[in-house]
């Protein structure tokens, strides 16, 4: 019996203590509720209110109009922006999942010794000691027309012309995203895998399962909380990004947020707010979808 179940059964048995326990837990969540209300709830509410406002060149005008939403939903560009952002999110999700799962698998099941495991795991985080921006921007001279990679390819005689698609392209954006976000996949999956009882793998082997069958039927299902958490990180990060897409595509591609930023820069807050509200709803739905597939809370309490 886990401690939570134990506590739950205690509560059921002792109604007199129930009140105290309930009150205590309210107090326990209170600081978090206060922080979330103050720094997330209220600002979000302001954004919601402003999204119904009217505006002129430099003022937002209190009103209750649906124009901002009507414009958002009737313009083809909205669809294209979301299609673009979702495309990036899916591609990056697939690649980081593949990488993250394999790296975590290697760390947990192939590396012997806890010290080595932790050492290699820390090694994965070393690039994170520098800023996101530097790590991303360093790709630019590497992938450029006269960059190191193109020079190497031409030097080795693989290509005669520099490859132009390497930089300021969707390719460059995906490279930067994968580089920046893979660790967000590795960490939760590593954590989930580390909790798998090794004897289960032995049992699978004894029962005649091959390596791949063990991975697919034992390790994968048991790592699903990690996969779900990693997916939430990666997908929300990509959906909410504007900087990477702007820099690595050289402004050739747009994301929902970069378009929103253009509106903010032109002081057009109400349409930007409407766009933000829709964005929050869509990303929340995506996260809810993931959580519906994997009940993270239940699995973590396992």
């Amino acid at each position: 019996m886990t401690s939570i179940e134990h506590a739950a059964s205690l509560l059921e048995e002792a109604p007199a203590e129930k009140n105290i326990g309930e009150r205590a837990s309210w107090w326990q969540v209170a600081p978090m509720v206060a922080v979330l209300t103050l720094f997330f709830g209220l600002p979000m509410l302001v954004v919601l209110v402003v999204s119904f406002f009217d505006f002129d060149r430099s003022d937002i005008i209190p009103a209750f109009i649906f124009d901002n939403y009507v414009e958002l939903f009737t313009r083809e560009v909205t669809l294209r922006l979301y299609a673009g952002s979702i495309k990036f999110a899916l591609i990056v999700w697939a690649i980081t999942l593949l990488l993250g799962f394999n790296i975590a698998y290697f760390l947990v099941f192939h590396v012997r010794g806890l010290l080595f495991q932790i050492g290699l795991f820390l090694l994965c985080t070393v690039p994170f000691l520098t800023s996101n921006i530097i790590r991303m921007i360093s790709w630019i001279p590497f992938l450029g027309r006269n960059g190191i990679f193109n020079q190497a390819l031409q030097g080795a005689g693989v290509t005669s012309q520099p490859l132009e698609f390497l930089l300021f392209s969707d390719f460059a954006v995906v490279v930067a995203y994968v580089h920046l976000f893979t660790l967000f996949m590795v960490v939760p999956i590593f954590n989930a895998m580390a909790r798998i009882d090794k004897s289960l793998l032995e049992a699978a082997r004894d029962a005649g399962a091959g390596r791949f069958r063990t991975v697919f039927e034992v390790v994968l299902p048991l790592s699903r909380t990690g996969i779900a958490l990693g997916s939430i990180f990666v997908i929300t990060l990509v959906m909410g990004d504007s900087f990477v897409v702007r820099t690595m595509s050289g402004g050739q591609s747009a994301s929902v947020v970069s378009a929103l930023q253009n509106e903010v820069a032109a002081l057009q807050y109400p349409p930007a707010a409407a766009s933000a509200v829709i964005m929050v709803i869509i990303v929340t739905l995506m996260v809810a979808g993931i959580l519906r597939l994997v009940d993270v809370r239940k699995e973590l309490a396992r």
Binding site: R57, S58, G84, R145, N146, Q252, A259, N262, A266
Partner: protein, 426 residues
């Protein structure tokens, strides 16, 4: 020198006496230097203009403190509108005026408070070049931006009045930057239409900012003969549509290598050879050249895109602080700043004062377009141009006297932002 005089006067006052001069004599308010030393003015502007050294020099010369804050354009607009009290002197470029004028955040400046108005170049005072010819009024021309109708600062007048929107400080003429070594020579690009030449497919860039990006393409389209705009600086919806449509086709055809949003990006695009022709700021061209890479700010036959910047006191200033603000604005154009900024390639609104703070060789190079008689250094003493080079485009009025269009905010800016987002996402 005026600057020294004023300083001495202030010092004299600090010694115990009030300034004897009254408004009637000098056009200056009476400033109690004893109190003025506790005053701090916050000067906020773009990093190209709100330079720390200038603030330090002003503090030294004036006896009160000037704090420079370099901020980005959108932050500046936001702070000006929502927290106007956090800024005292707003160093705005002309395109911020349509957002801020009449909002009650900027104070108008009575002409008599600004002593150097008479010596200011006629571009700002009359809207004309020194030869008397009127300057282009496409976009937001100086004559349209410099004056309020009345003291209340509610509306721009569009013609000379007694109330200034701002003290004009620096201005320049923008054009395309090119890599002569990669396009086959400086003379290979002579017109804005070369920006769209299929020869340079995949090797061009624009600034990632709708009002300027679209205007640069409009210059190119007009010179290519696609169509003629009534006012490139204030397009109609149809004109925006026509322009954006061509831009989308160009983008899909891979004509643009990149769109840059920061100074550094534009420098790196050019220096790395990703791009051989692009819209660019003049100090960015210099930054590329300082890496020993040939880069040229090419004079084009259709003319330049002009811009100008000024200082506007904020409406919350009053009493002694307002007096100090006027002091400071008068100091600003009294020479030191003009000399400093000339070495970055910008012109002063009162060139005669800047001249006193430049060596004759520097003046000849920067303002008169003559070949440099000595090595030309930047304001910090680093080598900028070797002896013998000539400034691109020549003398001040060869460049500033040939403005095709001024940086602006269009009436249809809302529509423009929308269409620009469609262009970027196409």
């Amino acid at each position: 020198m005026k600057r020294i005089n004023r300083r001495l006067v202030l010092k004299g006052a600090a010694a115990g006496g009030a300034i004897a001069a009254t408004e009637a004599v000098t056009g200056f308010p009476t400033v109690w230097a004893q109190n003025a030393k506790d005053i701090t003015l916050v000067h906020a502007g773009g990093s190209y203009a709100a330079i720390k050294e200038i603030g330090d020099q002003a503090s030294k010369d004036l006896g009160f403190k000037v704090v420079m804050q370099a901020i980005t354009d959108d932050v500046q607009l936001n702070r000006s509108l929502t927290q106007p009290n956090t800024i005292d002197i707003n160093n705005i470029d002309s395109t911020k005026l349509p957002y801020l004028a009449g909002k009650g955040v900027l104070a108008s400046i009575p002409v008599e408070k600004y002593k150097l108005w008479g010596e200011t170049v006629p571009l700002f005072t009359k809207g004309s070049y020194p030869n008397g010819q009127m300057a282009s009024t496409q976009g937001l021309a100086p004559i349209e931006a410099m004056f309020y109708e009345a003291k209340d600062g509610k509306k721009l007048a569009g013609k000379p009045t007694e109330f200034l929107t701002m003290i004009p400080t620096i201005y320049n003429a923008d054009t395309l930057g090119i890599r002569p070594d990669l396009v086959g020579g400086r003379d290979k690009i002579t017109s804005w239409k070369d920006l769209l030449d299929p020869k340079y497919k995949g090797k061009t860039a624009l600034v990632d900012y709708a009002p300027i990006g679209v205007m640069d393409v409009a210059m190119a389209l007009e010179s290519r003969g696609d169509f003629k705009y009534a006012d490139k600086g204030n397009m109609t919806k149809e004109e925006i549509d026509k322009t954006i449509k061509i831009m989308i086709d160009l983008k899909k055809g891979g004509h643009f290598r990149s769109f840059w949003s920061t100074f550094d990006q534009s420098v790196n695009l050019m220096a790395s050879g990703e791009v051989v022709v692009q819209s660019m700021w003049s100090p960015a061209v210099t930054a590329v050249r300082s890496r020993n890479i040939d880069c040229y700010y090419v004079p084009l036959k259709e003319g330049y895109r002009g811009w100008f910047v000024g200082l506007a006191p904020m409406a919350h200033l009053s009493g002694l602080k307002l007096d100090c603000a006027y002091e400071y604005m008068n100091w600003f154009n009294s020479g030191w700043q003009g000399g400093f900024i000339a070495k970055q390639g910008y012109y002063s609104a009162v060139p005669a004062t800047a001249k006193k703070f430049l060596t004759p060789e520097e003046w000849d190079y920067w303002y008169d377009g003559k070949a440099a008689a000595v090595d030309i250094k930047d304001p910090y003493g680093a080598l900028m141009e070797k002896k013998g080079t000539t400034r691109d485009g020549g003398a001040i009025w060869d460049r500033m006297g040939n403005i095709a269009c001024w940086n602006t905010v269009m009436d249809e800016d809302r529509y423009l932002t929308r269409r620009w987002n469609e262009f970027v996402s196409s």
